[in-house]
């Protein structure tokens, strides 16, 4: 069953020099318990796509459905995790986690236990009363994660959630996100991950959607069936990253920012 259907979505912005097309004819579906990654060069509209899906912005053309209903305002069954964490410095960890629940109008007495649960699930026990500035980057992103999960979303939207973290911390958080997603007792059903990093996408996702450079359109949908945990040094993994990489370099012939094709062996680099 499809959780999200994106049909022929275009997005353009008006600017001084006429309209700029950001995205053209993007269609795909997100199934229940999908882990979907979206990769593409910088500026191809990945973040915009996430915003459209959650209903923070309208497509210029095409439709987006969530559980077969058109998304026409901010969908509260989805929750976003930000690259910059977007935590409120004046709220404690608990209050940050409670943020979405308050917005949903939960009664006070239900918010408390829910917050405790997700604080604990994400390994934040003991930090409840801390303010974000006291936390390291990894712990901050866990707060971001807990805040998103606490509203028990059907879909978790993540916009480059690991790129502001140091490599080891990112490695740990990637694994933890996977763990949370696979736990049947915990939300979300599906994860939509936007990433700059092809290796990261292939390591985590079941399917990788490859966008072209601006105006972004879908170059391919790549299935990843490797067993987890995935070994980045395995031949199969290599082959997949290579494929995605050459798709992107070929799809955007004039991709100025891409390194020369012979660099393809290190395709984990940011695009």
């Amino acid at each position: 069953m499809s959780l999200i259907r994106i049909e022929h979505v275009d997005k353009s912005y008006a600017s001084r020099h006429g309209t700029i097309s950001i995205m053209q004819d993007v269609s795909f579906t997100v199934k229940d318990s999908d882990f979907l990654a979206i990769v593409g060069p910088s500026g191809c509209g990945k973040s915009t796509l996430l915003r459209l899906i959650q209903g923070l912005d309208r497509p210029s053309a095409g439709r987006i459905y969530f559980q077969d209903r058109p998304v026409d305002r901010v969908c509260k069954k989805m929750a976003m995790v930000f690259q910059s964490f977007a935590l409120y410095p004046w709220l404690t960890v608990s209050q940050n986690v409670a943020f979405g629940l308050e917005a949903l109008g939960w009664p006070e007495e239900r918010i408390g236990p829910q917050v405790e649960r997700y604080v604990s699930v994400t390994g934040l026990d003991g930090f409840q009363e801390a303010f974000p500035r006291e936390l390291s980057g990894g712990m901050r992103q866990r707060v971001g994660l807990a805040r998103a999960l606490a509203v028990e979303p059907a879909v978790l939207l993540m916009d480059e959630p690991f790129s502001a973290l140091d490599p080891l911390t990112a490695e740990n958080l990637r694994e933890e996100v996977l763990q949370l997603w696979r736990d049947p007792q915990l939300p979300p059903d599906a994860v939509l991950l936007v990433s700059h990093n092809i290796e990261e996408a292939i390591e985590l996702a079941d399917r990788v959607i490859v966008l072209s450079r601006r105006p972004g359109h879908i170059l391919a949908e790549v299935e990843v069936t490797l067993p987890r945990p995935r070994d980045r040094k395995s031949a199969a993994f290599y082959e997949l990253t290579d494929r995605v990489y050459s798709l992107i370099t070929a799809g955007g012939q004039s991709l100025a920012t891409a390194p020369a094709p012979e660099g393809a062996g290190r395709s984990g680099e940011a695009l």
């Binding site: 923070l56 901010v74 976003m80 409120y88 004046w90 308050e102 006291e134 390291s136 140091d166």
Partner: protein, 609 residues
């Protein structure tokens, strides 16, 4: 924020005497010890100063004039009562300012169309010497409610409000505008709207700036309050500490005067300790300009709140930056059209034509307005009387003299503030011991001492000297704290580099320090001039007591003409109008033609970040 936050995450960079304060003091000391040093002693120290400064001042005065403490105590009840009146006025004005700034700032920051009109208006309002309008407001409100206490109080609260509100509005506006987009977006994604959004996101975002700007607002508020009350003495009943002090001084009642000072200082010290320090500490958590997530986060929000003037000064700097770089007043837009001459309007360097046009617009506009005013008065109330007409012709001369006076006061301030600030930044000891003293002194409204200046110092200083001295009290602190914060924010490596090249002494000053602090210096100058214009109105003409005991100060100047116009009443209205218009035009001209270009140059040429 400073770069060193990443490498030394435990000590926030804004601890004044540690990582930042060491800009000129050599290498930073061991942070832990430094933090210890900064904790409570600074508060205790400040408390001591609050007690010591008035005691020394009062004691020396008592010693030289032979006053008795018993006599002083007898005046305390009356002084307290009058101070309470003043305090109520302050509270009313502050409540108004708070509500106004939140509403105005919020609307301007969240509505595009509102912003385009509201912020330029604000910019003009904050650069116009509002105090000049006080006599006018006093007359207006007093006329509206003849013989009642409501009118003068209304005028005074209104005046204090104008001294408090603008910088708070800018604080709200800027903190909402600079709120990181992701924090707003996070609220969107969770569908947080309405009052919850205001309570959880928008209001907290403004708290830090509001608290710090409130400190400034209260300081300015006291200054204006006392000034307004002094001005009103003998004209309209406005019981308060200002009128109390000026009456006491006019009657040469030293004990009575001292009692008033004691009560005022006590109240200000109490507010500082019981309200602003705790608030400042609490407000730290509402900062969102913190460094990005470091290795281990930042464990220690600062405890030290004694740097609030410097902090406030740095906020003022930002306010000025907004005023200069982002805001295009209608006037500037007009001039930009005139001075475009084939260049794109967005061009940084403005042409000479631009300034010529701007100057021409101002002169022509000013003449036109005066003509209109004179014409209107002639038409409405009959021909303007001969003496008033004569005074109107004196306006340009008076304005010129006032400008010279302000410039002289400014240069004297600079001669004191610059070396002092450098010394404070250089020596950690000096700044640790001296800075709290200066902060205490700065938070005390110098206007309270004006009666003493007039009644006791004129024989020594001459009227001209007394006027300049009063002007200086209204300009000094802006300059000092801005320069100090400028030196403090110099990157330490600038100094290191200079040292390693053996650049010291005068050459270091000329090559490194002065260029480095130039932007802060310009900001300080802009605000200091603002303070100067506002002080003119009492500095040039102060007449209290009346009759035989009255002593008065009167030197030619625009402030004097405005005061004379007030005393003339109805027939003086044309003079009042012309004088005010001239003052406003001059202030705007100086801002647009001198300060803003200088400031633009400062930020483009002397940037080090």
């Amino acid at each position: 924020m400073a770069k060193d936050e990443g490498t030394r995450p435990v000590v926030p960079a804004h601890l004044p005497n540690c990582s930042r304060g060491s800009a000129l003091a050599g290498r930073p000391g061991p942070p832990a010890g430094c933090r210890k040093l900064l904790r409570w002693p600074s508060a205790r120290w400040a408390a001591g100063i609050y007690v010591a400064v008035p005691l020394i001042f009062g004691g020396s005065l008592a010693a030289t004039t032979g006053l008795s403490l018993g006599g002083l105590a007898g005046y305390l009840p009356q002084a307290s009562l009058d101070t309470a009146y003043s305090f109520l006025r302050m509270l009313a004005a502050y409540a108004l300012s708070l509500g106004f700034s939140l509403a105005y700032g919020y609307y301007a920051a969240t509505h595009r169309s509102g912003e385009r009109v509201m912020i330029p208006i604000l910019d003009i309002l904050q650069s116009v010497p509002i105090l000049g309008f006080f006599p006018f407001a006093l007359l207006f409100f007093a006329d509206a409610t003849p013989g009642s206490w409501i009118g003068p109080n209304f005028a005074s609260v209104f005046l204090i409000f104008t001294s408090m509100a603008w910088n708070m509005v800018f604080g709200v506006y800027e903190s909402l505008k600079t709120l990181p987009a992701d924090l707003k977006e996070a609220a969107d994604t969770f569908g947080l709207g309405g009052s919850l959004r205001f309570r959880r996101v928008l209001f907290p975002a403004t708290v830090n700036r509001l608290v710090y700007n409130s400190v400034l607002s209260w300081t300015a508020g006291w200054f204006f309050l006392v000034e307004a009350e002094i001005f009103s003495t003998g004209r309209s009943p406005l019981p308060g500490i200002g009128s109390y002090l000026s009456l006491a001084a006019s009657q040469h009642h030293g004990e009575e005067f001292l009692a008033g000072l004691v009560v005022l200082v006590t109240l200000i010290a109490f507010l500082d300790f019981a309200v602003w320090r705790p608030l400042g500490h609490w407000a730290e958590r509402f900062r969102y300009d913190q460094a990005p997530a470091g290795e281990g986060g930042e464990l220690t929000p600062t405890r030290d709140t004694s740097g609030r003037f410097r902090r406030a000064a740095s906020y003022v700097t930002r306010g000025v930056r907004t005023g200069v770089t982002r805001i295009r007043t209608p006037l500037v837009q007009l001039a930009a059209i005139g001075g475009r001459s084939g260049r794109r309007p967005s061009e940084r360097r403005r042409s000479l034509t631009y300034y010529a046009t701007l100057g021409a617009i101002l002169v022509v506009g000013w003449l036109l307005l005066i003509a209109i005013v004179v014409g209107v008065f002639d038409a409405l109330t009959g021909p303007i009387s001969g003496p008033v007409r004569h005074l109107i012709f004196e306006v340009p001369t008076a304005m010129g003299v006032s400008v010279v006076r302000v410039v002289v006061a400014y240069l004297l301030c600079l001669a004191i503030a610059l070396p002092l600030a450098i010394q404070f930044a250089r020596s950690r000891r000096a700044s640790r011991l001296g800075l709290p003293v200066i902060e205490v002194v700065a938070s005390f409204p110098a206007t309270a001492l004006f009666p003493v200046i007039v009644f006791e110092l004129i024989p020594y200083l001459s009227a001209e000297g007394a006027a300049v001295l009063m002007l200086m009290t209204g300009m000094m602190w802006y300059l000092f704290f801005n320069v100090l914060s400028g030196i403090r924010s110099l990157p330490p490596d600038l100094e290191e580099a200079a040292r390693s090249y053996g650049l010291t002494g005068r050459r270091f000053l000329r090559r490194v320090l002065l260029p480095g602090i130039f932007p802060a210096l310009v900001t300080g100058s802009i605000t200091a001039f603002g303070g100067g214009w506002n002080t003119l109105i009492v500095a040039e003409y102060l007449s209290v007591g009346g009759g035989g005991t009255g002593q008065s100060l009167s030197v030619l100047g625009i402030g004097q003409l405005i005061d004379i116009a007030t005393e003339l009443g109805q027939p003086g209205n044309p003079l009042m109008a012309v004088a005010l218009l001239t003052l406003v035009a001059t202030v705007i001209a100086i801002n647009e033609l001198i300060w803003k270009p200088l400031y633009r140059r400062a930020v483009t040429q002397y940037r080090y970040d």
